[in-house]
Symmetry: D3
Subunit: 128 residues, 6 copies
Amino acid sequence: MKTLEQKIQDSETRVFKVVFPNTTNHYDTLFGGMAMYLMDEVAFMTATRFGRKKMVTVSSKKIDFNQPIPADTIIELVGKVVKVGRTSLEVEVEIFVEEMYSEDRRSAIKGGFTFVAINEDKVPVPVL
Amino acid sequence: MKTLEQKIQDSETRVFKVVFPNTTNHYDTLFGGMAMYLMDEVAFMTATRFGRKKMVTVSSKKIDFNQPIPADTIIELVGKVVKVGRTSLEVEVEIFVEEMYSEDRRSAIKGGFTFVAINEDKVPVPVL
Amino acid sequence: MKTLEQKIQDSETRVFKVVFPNTTNHYDTLFGGMAMYLMDEVAFMTATRFGRKKMVTVSSKKIDFNQPIPADTIIELVGKVVKVGRTSLEVEVEIFVEEMYSEDRRSAIKGGFTFVAINEDKVPVPVL
Amino acid sequence: MKTLEQKIQDSETRVFKVVFPNTTNHYDTLFGGMAMYLMDEVAFMTATRFGRKKMVTVSSKKIDFNQPIPADTIIELVGKVVKVGRTSLEVEVEIFVEEMYSEDRRSAIKGGFTFVAINEDKVPVPVL
Amino acid sequence: MKTLEQKIQDSETRVFKVVFPNTTNHYDTLFGGMAMYLMDEVAFMTATRFGRKKMVTVSSKKIDFNQPIPADTIIELVGKVVKVGRTSLEVEVEIFVEEMYSEDRRSAIKGGFTFVAINEDKVPVPVL
Amino acid sequence: MKTLEQKIQDSETRVFKVVFPNTTNHYDTLFGGMAMYLMDEVAFMTATRFGRKKMVTVSSKKIDFNQPIPADTIIELVGKVVKVGRTSLEVEVEIFVEEMYSEDRRSAIKGGFTFVAINEDKVPVPVL
């Protein structure tokens, strides 16, 4: 059987994405709402792949948009379980930005999401 | 000239939306990331219509997803300026859910977003 | 119980929207078909929120695209019930354009949509 | 050189489309606004391919949604120039519905769109 | 009853499309993946309209992207059945590019797709 | 400086994605064209992150859709450089399917894409 460490490692979830013009705002940087959309999607997959149970978003923590993400870059979102409660867990998602034509890579946004595991009747159940 | 009260009133920004199947997850409720996307868009319009200056999202505050929003309902997002600093302001966005075939209406999600006004050189400028 | 006046007032439906690049054509103005799409969506919500019954679009009236709507503006669509028949009703939708960085606001497009209220068997039923 | 007849024939513009679930409303039929969106896009291509000049939508005529278009059918939109003025022209678009698993095909919606040919300065110019 | 020739002719499926900015990559040409998406959709409609049975994509053949397709052109995709087996068939899809403001038209991409006809239990059945 | 081995390892590009209803066809499995769209996007990012130069898709190899990918699963696309020429390179993309609520994971689709590195004048240049 897997250890908690192993489950956390195996459920790490990565998504690369080109910042195409149809995801940017009129400043030509990734629209903040789109960043949140992508982060929640990655967080949801991380939580589900950790618990292999139905998971619902309960809350998002404060998210700082430290750095604008310009169009025509490649971003990687990395989701990782950082806290495990009885029926809830917390996932942290970090967005890295890579220039297309250089090896430059830096962290741009970090955010936390809390999920609760539920059964068919939408009653909270143990995540493990 | 408009008073601050008047500017806040005039910049209140409302968006109704049908929760169509293409915005829901596999539990048939509005996908959390989609809710955040819509909230940020409304917050951005509220901030811009208040200051009539370029506004960038600096951070989102903790958002509680108290109630799932089922498919085939109508939601209204209401954005309102709740705090005005020198170069920044805070917008609160609330999502209400209405049943389609009854007068039932209730609050489902509330969240706060902080914006900074910037000039062409991306330097913060007074919001008023 | 609500008067007709009250029901019309309460069902007024407003939608603000940023004209992002992904909704514009190659003249950098809002694509006509997208305007019609948004108008029908607002008309549908207005009709449903008025009657709280299933509503289907029966026809759209002549729509004049008096003024092109440039990218990087904010539009507001306002839907209002303007005629109430026995099993049908008519909704008028007007689109206003606001500059982002000035208080300038003007009417751009106006259109009418007719809806019929139907029951589960798709048979027309009284709207009130 | 082409005759008018020939130009009309050559500019006829056809678009087949599967009515996938992400284009339908909660009655599981093609959303009216989506039908209008597709019709305007076909009308625009027909007008442009006829005149080979910049064309802008001036107005849409009354559109009757005679028949709902169910999900999981295939539709064909056919655009045809039906009237040619000096600086404007009129395009008629008809939508046909085909069952997927039978040869059944019928007309569902018909609508007219008026376009004006413009030059770089957005001044109307002769369509021919 | 229709001959094979007639069935092939009747199932030819055409789709015109404006290459709007939201379908292009950062070189301002149609994104390769989007071309494949559109080709598979046309191939699927051609196969279904030929056999009037459930069809599933089994494979795509080598596709050469001979010519980039610039933004602000009009493309036409033409799907045609080119081989008919017992339970499978092959569809060829060709993409033509038309300049908007001249009669210039040329072939840009060609690709083949193989489909199998299946019944309710997902078992292959004769296409004819 | 990095070895070729290292560059191949570092450019491996992974994308997880929930198969939401809006990406499926009417058989409730991932639409073939959507799979190709996603594969080309991953292949493009892999090629760009390997060469850090402008890359254009030249061709896709035969793609076998061995296994339908059902809705409500999680897929992972993995892109890897498998051949390096002077001005071209080949990327292989494999799609794995994971059940949401079990550890079950299997390979579903594999495909190859060829890219050419180009400079500002669209002339092929060495990839390394």
